[in-house]
């Protein structure tokens, strides 16, 4: 691991030394600054702070917010909350998976899109909802997905298939 990353993690660990159970915060901070919580980061946190890698991995694999590899240029969040689920969230996810050729948690080979499935985004009235970066798309239809993606790619998302 390079010294810059080490330094960043050390600083984060330092910041939380007085907190009772800072594990989640530490992981969130690492992801925020370094983009993901990849294996070497987790191992470093485990070694330097007496956490167990098993526990850390349990946490990052439980919360969909964590990424084990660096994200693509744009992150697509598919809402899998209750309301969106009822209104066809699963179909949206299936279609996006097909269009991009990846599963939630993965990034397209060209590094443009990362797909994530998340719990309720807090705007159930618009369900089914997806978010790309900070933009929210409500009442999404499977037939409209391609159109939306193209905006971010400049080229047709078809090329990914």
């Amino acid at each position: 691991m390079d010294t810059k990353d080490k330094f960043i993690i050390d600083t984060i660990l330092e910041k939380f030394t007085d907190m009772k159970d800072p594990t989640l915060m530490i992981l969130q901070n690492i992801q925020e600054i370094l983009g993901c919580v990849r294996e070497e980061y987790l191992t470093y946190v485990a070694e330097s702070n007496g956490y167990s890698l098993t526990e850390l991995y349990g946490i990052v694999s439980f919360y969909p917010q964590f990424r084990l590899s660096p994200p693509g240029k744009h992150t697509i969040k598919i809402c899998k909350g209750t309301a969106c689920h009822v209104r066809g969230g699963a179909a949206i996810q299936k279609n996006l998976q097909n269009l991009l050729g990846i599963k939630p948690g993965d990034t397209t080979e060209d590094g443009v899109f990362t797909l994530e499935s998340v719990r309720c985004l807090g705007c159930c009235g618009l369900s089914p909802v997806i978010m790309i970066d900070n933009e929210t798309y409500g009442r999404v239809k499977t037939s409209k997905l391609q159109e939306i993606l193209v905006k971010y790619k400049g080229v047709s998302a078809n090329e990914n298939q």
Binding site: K20, E55, Y57
Partner: protein, 590 residues
Amino acid sequence: MNIIKSNDNNDISADISSKPRVGFFDFASCEGCQLQIANLEEEILDVVDRLEIVSFREVMKNHSDDYDIAFIEGSIHRPIDEERLKDIRSRAAILIALGDCACTGSVNKLRNDWSVDNVKAEVYRGAEAAMKNNDFFDIFPTKRLDEVVDVDFYIRGCPVRKEQVLYYIKRLSSMPPHKNLDLRFGVVPRDIEKDVRSIIQYNPQKCILCRHCEIICNDILNVHAIGITNKGNESIVSTPFDIGLDNNKCISCGQCLVNCPVGAFTSSSSVERVLELLDDPENFVVFVIDPIAVASAMEILPTENTQLRPVMGSLIAALRDMNVKKVIDFTHFGYLSLAAQGEHVKTHKDMTFTSWCPSAHSYIEKFLPEFKKHIHKETSPEYLMLKAFRKWYGDENLKIVFLSPCIVHKGNPDFDAVLTARELPGLLKSRAIDLDFYDPEKGAFDCELGLSSVYVKGASSDYTYSLPIIEIAYMSKFNNLDAGLAVTTIGDYAHELAFDSEEGFFNALVIEDITRASKYLKKDIRKYNVVELYPCFHGCLTGGGQVPTTSMDLLNKRRDLLKNYKGECKAKDLFVSQIISAYDSIKEVE
């Protein structure tokens, strides 16, 4: 259905001539678990067929307070929740905690690290006026359901697996459930493969995600080899990045296995291998029995005998019938090991780890490497036994089968096969052997050591702290030991023993719980002559090869069986001198 719950023993009985009335309720949660049920698709018909759903806010408007079974999702945050939950409890004969929030508090409990005021300030800053005197915002630290009321059944998962809920529903509507058997409710297979890379194998198909295993491995043993990974339907017990148990510092103690209520953990079977060894007439098969394993196997062996001695006699006779050439009592080498350790302690003033347990050795090597050189495997019973066998039986066609209470030996290439207590009935069954058919009087151990009695107490059966050390001291002729021994309990799980002898002053540390021990292990450990520790609770009685149980009664039964089996040693001095000379005869063998 008319369900009656007995107040004395929590038994539930039911008249199943009519459909049970069921209510679904939620407290603080995402409602995802109920969604699993709403999402049963065509199977929902099956459910409706079996149950009369009287309340289910997520899917219907009607509501009735007349129900037998309550499924409850979510955790408890407020006095008003508490009241409502108690009210539901008072109406429902059976209360089922649905999902992790209800079972453990799960994500909702994360906020308990902060004070209620801090939490409110963080989330609702600026809305203080609206919150004032408002019951909805009157919160306390999050509680799981059973911190408020009795819970009859727990269905774990975030969210729960719908197949499992369906299973519970079918089970509840067809057969009166029994509270104490909750965890034995069957589970529905998932499409996740079995992990068979190590001695300890894990079958996600059976796992109900109760987390007993990981709590033991992480919180009690401090090994952190396993944990629950992933979420919801995909949750399994696994290792980080799926590197496998062996790569994640597992010490093969098998405590996860013996504490799993549904048998999701198993160990690889050696029955086939043993049969192969027995089938080859060229082989000289020596069968080593650790009586502790038989004491546990008796719980699953079909035999009328209730005492260990006749069962052992019949077993030995049966083994001879199966072409076994020698049947050896492992405890004899336990005695020799005591003699060897005694001698070692006398001649080496620095600290010695005297546990025989290979998992304990592995623990020290992995977690306390700085103390590795204090382990002396040459004084272990296995080491001495293998040495003796080579001397007695040569090694050309020698095949050693070991019936042991632990699984860690399965990884020892010096043994040709290692059977656990769990595998013994299978071995006998595969040769259609009925133990009770064999005359117990006809079976006696072979003993080339000239040991006359089965007397031994201590280390191998149980780590009741005083015994191994006293025995070591005794074996090594520390004559005035009884007078000088002092036991000080220095922590719940750690004891100090000090004894004066002709040879000088000795002290020992005995550890009953590795986690809490680690602090004693690091601190001043070198000041002790002898340190004993075991990863398994109650020592080998609950070893990883034993029949799984968490019942104290059963453990005490095992203990009693062994106690009666061993009997009292009348001529202790004679016995000790026999052991010392037996040890001397093996010591010099290369």
